[in-house]
Every structure is written in structure tokens, then in C-alpha cells.
């Protein structure tokens, strides 16, 4: 499937478009521009890392692209939908249908067990028989014996694996990951990274990864570098170049 896609690369559709995105905040009397005139497109099925130093606007960009925040100017188009005219209700529905998330601080719901956390996005869609799928996903991330544990009873790595399973339960078209290994030690990071890319490849999901870990970024197809809220470089990585060749 992946190979077929790769061979048909020129035919790939754009899943995410950011056009002249600007985001400014009021800070007292002053206006603070966090993102300035950012424009790029991401193809469906590809993986892309957004890198840059702290304060460069990476997380802001991710929030805007995922429909979690609204731009001061410019547009975001996700899965063919322009996000700007959508209401909060419509944005929520769009996220539920097409988007998956993985966060640096895991963001599991502390009052739900591991399997309940995984089931939530599907249940939100009104699906009733999700238990089996959630269980399979948790087995896939190696947590078959932790189904009924609460987040506080799991280690950081385990929590992030639950978050991965949750991100994929709705078979999202695009996955946004914000520093997914930022809170993990090296060994655990490797496991989580591997799972992230494996699941991504398996399901053909587009991956947008925000990180300042260049080693991790190099594992994606493309790297967009931000500095001071502006795109300073946008390049294909070696892995993508190799595949392309």
C-alpha cells in the first residue's frame, strides 16, 4: 500500500494547507506576533516534522492546523475543509472524524482507565462496539495487561502508548503529535517512536510532528523549520529523498 502510494507520489492529494498564517496575541498594550505569514502544504499519507527552538511558534502552528485555535489572518484547510468559517461544534466534529493527537504530557483523562481512554473518540462518534478495537490497539502497543489501569497507575511510557492507541482508534486521516517523546527517557522514547511510525505506516495516516529533537525529525519525510514565527527552511529529509529516488 505504502509502496503503491510512494510510486504514485505525484498523484498525492493535499490534506493540509496553511496559507499566509499569522497569529498575534495581545500582551498588555503590545501585540505579540507568534506566527507570521506561514504558508505550506502537506500531502496525504506523508510525514512532516515542524522543528525550531523554544518560542519559535511550533506549538501555535500545530494548534492552528489542528483546528484547536483560530488564526489572526490567513487560512487553514484540513481534509479539504477551510477551517475559518467553521463553528466550534463543526470543528469538534471534524477533529473527531479526521484528526488524531499525541501530546508531550500524554493528556490521558485521569478518571478513565486505559481502555476507556482509548474508547472515548470512537464513543463520541456514537459507536457502541469499540471495546474490541480498543483492546486490539492496546495489545498492539504492548499493554494487554494494563487495560483497566488508571493513568496514575501507569508509567510515562505506558501512558504515551495508551495515548497512541487512542490517537489511532478512529483511524484518523491526519495525526498531530506535539513532542511525543519529550517527557520520556531514551529507551522508552525509542519504543514510542517505533510504535508511532509503525502505526502511522500501517494505517496510512498523515503525520505532523512538532519537535525540537532533530534525530526524531529526520525520521519523517519532510522538515519545516521555524524561527521567530517564520518558516526559515522547508526540506525533504534523507529518508524521503531516498524513497523518492
Amino acid at each position: 500500500m505504502m509502496n503503491a502510494d510512494m510510486n504514485a507520489e505525484p498523484m498525492r492529494r493535499t490534506i493540509l494547507t496553511a496559507a499566509n498564517l499569522t497569529k498575534a496575541y495581545k500582551s498588555g498594550e503590545r501585540e505579540l506576533t507568534v506566527l507570521k505569514d506561514v504558508t505550506f502544504e502537506i500531502e496525504e499519507g506523508s510525514s512532516c516534522a515542524v522543528v525550531g527552538p523554544s518560542g519559535s511558534g511550533k506549538t501555535t502552528l500545530l494548534g492552528l492546523c489542528a483546528g484547536l485555535d483560530r488564526a489572526s489572518s490567513g487560512t487553514v484547510s484540513l481534509v479539504g475543509e477551510d477551517l475559518s468559517p467553521l463553528s466550534e461544534e463543526e470543528l469538534a466534529e471534524l477533529r473527531n472524524r479526521y484528526v488524531g493527537f499525541v501530546f508531550q504530557s500524554f493528556q490521558l483523562i485521569p478518571t478513565l482507565t486505559a481502555i476507556e481512554n482509548v474508547m472515548v473518540p470512537a464513543e463520541l462518534r456514537g459507536e457502541t462496539r469499540v471495546h474490541r478495537r480498543a483492546k486490539e490497539l492496546l495489545e498492539k502497543v504492548g499493554l494487554s495487561d494494563r487495560l483497566h489501569h488508571y493513568p496514575t497507575q501507569l508509567s510515562g511510557g505506558e501512558q504515551q502508548r495508551v495515548a497512541l492507541a487512542r490517537a489511532f482508534v478512529n483511524k484518523p486521516r491526519i495525526l498531530f503529535a506535539d513532542e511525543p517523546t519529550g517527557n520520556l527517557d531514551a529507551e522508552t522514547s525509542d519504543t514510542v517512536e517505533k510504535l508511532l511510525f509503525d502505526l502511522n505506516h500501517e494505517s496510512g495516516t498523515t503525520l505532523v510532528l512538532v519537535t525540537h529533537n532533530l534525530e526524531l525529525a529526520e525520521k519523517t519525510d519532510r522538515i519545516i523549520s521555524l524561527r521567530g514565527g517564520m518558516v526559515v527552511s522547508d526540506r525533504l529529509t534523507e529518508s524521503r529523498s531516498l524513497v523518492s529516488q
Binding site: 506549538t59 500545530l62 494548534g63 489542528a66 484547536l68 485555535d69 466550534e88 461544534e89 469538534a92 466534529e93 477533529r95 473527531n96 472524524r97 484528526v99 493527537f101 501530546f103 493528556q107 490521558l108 483523562i109 485521569p110 478518571t111 478513565l112 476507556e116 472515548v120 473518540p121 464513543e123 463520541l124 462518534r125 456514537g126 488508571y150 496514575t152 497507575q153 487512542r166 506535539d178
Partner: protein
Amino acid sequence: MNWGWILQMAWRDSRHSRRRLILYMSSIVMGVAALVSVRSFSDNLLHSVEQQAKILLGADLAIRSNSPFDPEDEAFLQSIGGIQARQVSFSSMALFPTQQATRLVQVRALRGEFPFYGEFETEPASAARDFQSGKLALVDNILMLQYGVEVGDPIKIGNVTFEIKGRLLQIPGESVAFSEFAPRIYIPETFVEETGLVQLGSRVRFHAFFKLPVDFDADKLVEATDEERERLELSADTVSERKERFERQLNNLDRFLSLVGFIALVLGGIGVASSIHLYIRQRMETVAVLRCVGARPYASFAIYLVQAGLMGILGALGGALIGIGIQRLIPLILGNLIPLEIEQAVSWGAVGQGVLVGLGTALLFALIPLLPVRRISPLLTLRSDYENATGGKRDLLVIVAFGLVGLALLGFSLAYSSRWQVGLGFFVGLVVTLGLLTALAKVTMVITRRYFPSGWQYVWRQGLANLYRPHNQTVVLMLAVGLGAFFILTLYLTQVSLLDEVSSFGEEGRPNLIFFDIQTPQKDELRQIVDSMDMEVLQEVPIVTMRLASVKGIGVDELREDESYGGRRWALRREYRCTYRDELWDSETLLEGTFAGRNDEQIAEVSLEQGIAEDLDVKIGDSLTFDILGIPLEARVGSIRAVEWRNFQTNFFIVFPTGFLEEAPQFHVFVSRADTPEKSAALQRAAIQRFPNVSAVDLSLVIDTIDSILEKLTFVIRFMALFSIITGFVVLTGAIVSGRYQRMKECILLRTLGASRPQIRRILLIEYLFLGIFASITGIVLSLVASWAIVYFVFDAVFIPEFMAVVVVLGAVVFLTIAIGMSNSRGLLEHPPLEVLRAED
């Protein structure tokens, strides 16, 4: 909206917090309990009235006159038929010869089988019927206990000495409490004349009671004989009228108690809002995650609304259960004020109403902190910027929710008030009190923060700083605890000030003993008795009884029919007890005209008290015609006076100048002073033994009576206030538990930094100490202001800020706050930090 998922999420999310949520919602428990118990009790009472209505009157019909029934009256009474009984009642002194004690009592001389419904409860039981067979009397139990009198002892009423045949325990239709104010003595009617007490000028009531055939409609008869009765000056009372009156009084009592109970519910509502606010703050990340994965704004709001609703139902049901239990206590609280036997049953209407009002209050107050949930941004998953998490702009729906809370409070206040003005007053009072408590709490905090000595030890500074930490609940805590202190102290200080005011009437040199019903021939000898006991008659006041015949030249009968008459009709009908003298007294102030004193013209220039002048709709120069035992007397309004009614002497609506009434039939009042209770008792005894028709009232009797009334009243209010006080402490517990997580993190941090357990314990202790002090100061300050305002504006008396009461309230509130605070913080220090952190969510 996917309600199935919402319910499921609400259930799952609450798993670790149910005990906490129940605690939050238990804030409304006591409020609901108060409403259910009061309403259930009055439902039961109304049911009892329905069952025992005839007992309220003791007869099917009662007809009353202020003068003895003459042959024409008798003919009218006989025409009604049925079984009849007669009663003559009047106030008089009773003398207990064995104890050498006297007391003003209400004498009821009975002939016939009254009461026809219900029975006199006496000890021995047979005395109820036997006492009419000789010179025998039934004496109020309270009076017998007070003077240590036994059955078989003598009691002298006027010229007749009766043997006490039995203790009077209960009179059907009358409350036992009433007997404390005017103890009742029943004697056979045959001996009334012999007592010599029914004379000219005595206030005597004559009753005829009827037992009528089952199908006889007494109300119809009363309506049909209206004109004839008016001509004969006979008033009538039927079972349905008495029942209606009783129900109206009961309704007023029920509404009043419900309003006092409602304060507990409002306080509980504030507690719910405050706890839910903190609860939601801890749920913000969860909501943000849900929003991220696709939950719609209103769906995430609905999850917590469902939780609040379910807990609200539990709280309200719990409150209803407690209310049903407490309902059984209310007869003990009000018992001797209620003249009926009350059947205890659960009133499902009351339970339903209480549960609905409780749930409504919980939900409305919960809405305020819950509505922002729908504005929690999913962006919070990426940035933990709480301040902007719910959007910076003002939320219109939250403003609407505040408005709804206000409307609901106003609606309840109006629904539970007899008049809209009272409801509005209660609503404004409640809002102002809560607002002032909040403002005072904030001011106290600001002042303390600004002027707190920075050189104090670390534990003191840390303990105090805990009250200012971000997202503290100090104001709510102070509101909850302060309201309790406010309630207790206001009731107490008002009571103390009023009693002190009455006691001050009897200060050095001022009168404290009044003799009345003195006949003209008795005057001189009674004065000698007073003199012989080294006391003096401070005032001698003649009293002439009369009625109005015409006002401004128009006959009173005509005026009463006249729609355009601007005065009050009762003022035309009433009997006037007037005096005559040539000077104004200290208690009187001339407002208009000139006080005639003495004039020798044909027309008397009378002085009217300002209230009665308004009620009669007359001004200076208007003419009045009085009827003194059939003899007309022309008068003209010469002056209008203000009278200071609250003093221990006689006061009059109408004062005549000298020169007109000296020859009219009259009786006299002596105002005197006895320096000791013993001297007062000795003088009363000597006077009554010589002149049994003379009655005496001393100030201590008045003080005892007022004390007894106030005691009963404040006891009932205090009982209802207890609900608010308990609610205050439940809110306190809820708030402490809500802040536990934050507090725990601080404790763990401090312990990590090397703080010992005793140090942390001291920090907590100091925090609760200050909280208790601030809360009680807030309550005390407001209470001093409120009780001063009540005493000064409502009762026009001098406010006494009793220092000891303030100290006791301060100490008690501080102690309870520390006790509750420390007992809820216990677990924080007993376990290793990590274990505690993992146990809490």
C-alpha cells in the same frame, strides 16, 4: 447530542470523586430538610385542623357581647336554639391565701356543658365537670406550679373564696403557651355576682356557646342575623371562621419559618457553586482533551451538569429524609403554641416540593461555575494557561445564570411571603446581607494583608499567606461561617436589648406598679394603704368610659355606611377610655393646637393622640359628640398630641380638660413605685385583700411576660437558624476538601524542603485560626450593625452590645473552624507524599 455517551462519561468521570461530589451537594441537605420539615409539619397541622376544627371553638357557634345579655339579647339567643352554655370572662387579681400571693389572672365563669367539642384536660380528670357543682375552681397548671398551690387549696377571686378542684392542663382550641401570659381560672357562673368584680367600667366579656343540630348551618345563621346582631351589639364566631383564622395564622407561620429555612438553602447553593468551581478547575484538562478528540462544547458541559444534577437529587433526597425526621421535632419546638393534637404523617407534597426546590437551587447555583466548561479551549492540551482557558470575553450565559439565580431567589421570597412588600424586603435583605458579608470578608483580608507584621515567624506568615493563595476559597468560607455567627449573635443581641429596654422602665424613681379598677369611694382608703407602707401614689388617673356618637356632626352609624369617609371604621365603633386633667404629661408632646387644660365653655376642647386623629379623620376644630351611658357630650378637637406609648404608666387616646367629666361615672388608676419585689408583693396583697375588685400589675410581671414571648420566638427562629449554621459548616468542610489537592501539593513540597510534621500542622492550625477569626469578625461586625438597626429603627430602643456574647461567639466559631479544618487535613500528614498524590485524582 449523544446523551448515551454523556451519561456514560458522567458516570465514569465521577468514579473517583463521588464522595467529594456528594459532600458538595450535601450543602443543600439542611436547606431541603428545613423546607420539608416545616412544610410537612404544617400539612400535618392543617390536616389536624380539618379533623378537629370544632375543637378550636369548642362549639358550633359563639356569640359575644361586651355588656350583660339583656332580655332582648336573651330572646335572640334563645331563638337560635340548640344546647347552650354561658361564660363571663374578665381579668382580676387572684389571691392565694395559703401563700399570701396575688396574681393578675383571667377569670372565666362558666354555666353549662361547654366545651361541646373536645374536653378540658384536668387533674384529676373528674374536676372538669365537677367544678360547677359548688364554690370550686379550675386553676391553670402553670399558675399552680408558680405559686406552689395544690388541689384542695383555697383561691380568692373578688369577695369569694373557692376551693381548687383541679389543675387545668389543656383547654381545647387554646395553646398552653397562652396561659403563661394570662393564666386562666374557671369558676361556676353562679358566683360571678358574689365576687363583686363585674362593675361599671370593668372590662367584661359575655359569651353564649351553642351546640347545634348536625344539619344546622351556623354560617348561614350568622349571615342572616347580621343586621339584628349589629343592633344588639353582638358579635359571632363560627367554626369555619375560627378555622379560617387559624389556617391564616398557620400559613403565616409556615411562610415565615420556610423563609428562615430558605436562607440555609441559599447558603448551601453558594457552597455548591464554590465547590463546583474548584472541581471544574481540576477538570479543565480533561475537558480540553475531550474537546481535542471531538467532544462538542455543550457535550462536555452536559457531562458535569449531569453529575451536578444527579448529586443534587441525592442531596435533595437526603435532605428530604432528614426533614421527615426533624418534622417530628417541630411539635416539641412549637408544641405549646399549637392548640391541637397533631397527627404525624409524611407529607409527600412537602417532600416533592422540598426536593424540587433543593434540586433547582443546586442546579442553578452549579450552572454559574459549569457554564464556562463549554468555553474551555482544546488548546489547553498544548498550553496550560488557565487564565485564558475559558476565553477572555464576558460570558453572556453566565450573566443570564446569575440573573436566573436572582429571579429564583426573588420568586421564592415572594411565594413565601404574605405580602409582596415582605417578600421583596426579605429578598433585598438577603442579597444585602450576603453582599455585605462578602464585602466585609474582602476588606478584612485586604487590611490584614496590608498591615500584617512581616517580622512574624515563618509558620505564622505561611499560615496566613495560605488564605491569600491563588484560587483560595477564603471569602466563601468566611461567608459560610460568618453567616452562622451573624445569625446567632443578632438574635441574642436584639433579645437582650429589648429586655433591657423594658427593664429600664423601672429605673430608680420611675413607676413600677399600677393599680386599676379602683372605684371612687375606694380611692382615699387605698391611698392610705399605700402611704402606710412607705410608698406613694405617683399618679392618680381618673378614667371615664364612653363611645363616639358623631364625628363632624355626622352620626357614627351614618359614617360607617359612608363610602367616602376617610377614617377607619373600627375607630368609630370602639369604646374609649378617656381621662381628664389640666396638664400634659412628660410622655406627651403637643403637635398642633393648644392643650386646653381647663375650660368652662359648653363644648369640651379635647386633645387627641395623633394616630387616633388620623384614624378618625379629624383636624383641629372638628366636632365630636361622645355618649357617656346615654348622655351626650359635645367636644371639639382642641389639640393633637404625640404620645410615648412605651412607658410603664397609663396613656390615653383622648384627654378631656377638667370641668366636664368630674361627675361622670368613673374609676381610677394609681401609679406607684415599690423599691423591692417584696414590698411590691406586700402592697398588692394588702390592697387586694381590702379591695378585691382592684387589680394590680407590676413591672416584673410585664418583663417576665415579654421575656417569655421573646424566648419562645427566638427559640423557634434559632432552631430554624440552626439549619443555616449546620449548612455553614458543611460548606466549610466541602471547601476544605475541595482545596485539599492544592494544599496537599504544598504540604508535600514543604516536607520535601524539610518541614517537619509539627511545623506543617502549625501552619494549618494558624490558617484555620485566622480563618475562624476573620469569619467571626465579619459575622460579628455585621451582626452588631444589624441588631443595632433592628433595635433602633424597628423597636426604637437602645442597643446593648453585650461584650460577653461577642467573645463567646468569637471563641465558639474559631474553635469549630479549627476543629473541622484540622480533622479534614489529618490524612495529609499521615502517609508518604507519593502515596497521597496517587490516591487523589
